[in-house]
Symmetry: C2
Subunit: 247 residues, 2 copies
Amino acid sequence: MNAKPDAPDLPARVVTRDRVIAAVEDALLTGQFVPGHAVTLRGLAAQLGVSPMPVREAIRVLSSANALDVMANGRIRVPTMTRRRFDELLHARVLLEPHLAALALPNLREIAGELVRIDDAIDESLVTGDVIAYMRRNHEFHFRIYRAAGSEIILPLVEHVWLQFAPFMRTVYGRVGTSVVEDRHKEAIEAIKHADAEGLRLAIERDILDGMGLIGHSVLDGPPPQAIRRGKPATKQPQTSAARRPD
Amino acid sequence: MNAKPDAPDLPARVVTRDRVIAAVEDALLTGQFVPGHAVTLRGLAAQLGVSPMPVREAIRVLSSANALDVMANGRIRVPTMTRRRFDELLHARVLLEPHLAALALPNLREIAGELVRIDDAIDESLVTGDVIAYMRRNHEFHFRIYRAAGSEIILPLVEHVWLQFAPFMRTVYGRVGTSVVEDRHKEAIEAIKHADAEGLRLAIERDILDGMGLIGHSVLDGPPPQAIRRGKPATKQPQTSAARRPD
DNA sequence: ATTATCGGAATGTGATCACAATTCGCATGC
DNA sequence: GCATGCGAATTGTGATCACATTCCGATAAT
């Protein structure tokens, strides 16, 4: 490599594009972007106080990860959830996340206390009904674990999956509330303290299946996803932004 | 009647950015981008005959998928393979691809003939030593199978992984040749014909482990890849910058 | 001959403009 | 009252310019 004794620490210059990406990702993960809602370059740029150029790249990055939906005419919107997509996302989560958790187990002892603290914050967000705080904390709980696996390949894949299902979960919580949320974090922490890899794997899997499976199905199986409002035969997937009102 | 597109097929307007992405992805998957080689906006734009703007978005998309490496100063280059990265990529492949193949098994009967045809083309590429054609055909063989799984979530994840390890494999083939390549495609085809899910899963897993594991380790454990620095050692291989001349 | 220093070239980033395509609003006509 | 047609506004895409930073090469000094 080229010897560069000047700065061993990477300066990590903060570029506007990365700030935009982080802002949109946070908005997606905390459910502040409603599925079906349009996302425009200039609109987002004005909202974030930047020029459309960094937003363009950020949107392109996120849409390439299927975190934003690019329609045939180029318009961009928050993806709407379909039964098929939901099942596949659930599938991918069950495939990847328990594996990552078990892989991270040896490194989790030292952050067990921090996980307990985050889980306490989650409980607090649940009782206060702060959905955004809950989703952010829940994301932090899971990814504290997954990050400890030290896998720089699988971890981004899991982040992609989360970016896709998170907006939908926000809709779910907005409809059924957060009181029905019951995670398996306590079991996971217990498994970590006992260095029980299989127990941790099972706890994560159950956390995914319970949290997403039951709630997701109850909502997706409810109203049929084809609520024709004006009889547009061109669009095979009518948007539900203005049709259904979450409460 | 302006808004009445009779054609049910989506127009799918071809934008320059997508062509650039496809071109770079193909170059990565076929090993025409040497690991460590710099990729510049204006250089790639001039090479492809487009303006730097679509290239900027394309590079951003690919770098977000870790298919291109963004250094601390913002410069972009084809990622270099490390032992750690390689092991993780191998790990991710074993985790995802056999699963996808088994999932696709019910839909593979009808394309079994096509798979045989592609595999024959692979053998032909191997005897002629056409590494680029081999890599393209091998990619096609695998993704014909994976695409049949109908999973629009896991499939992009696998594509991301391929984009990351493919350039390195090109280096491997360029060093040890393609004569040592021995895949498990025949076993996979056999398992498909017998509707043997477990056999197919095992064939894919062995194909990955044999192809990447043995070859990759032999090269990564061998000579360090930072041998030559100055002097431009006889660029007999078509480089990425000025290799392709449109006319 | 080796090292230090300086200047031009190259690179990524942000901003702005131009343009085709699409969408929305509103007036018009039946 | 309702569909229709037209024009303005919006949107994504591509191109170009400006600029800070960095890299490369040449020149000069020891």
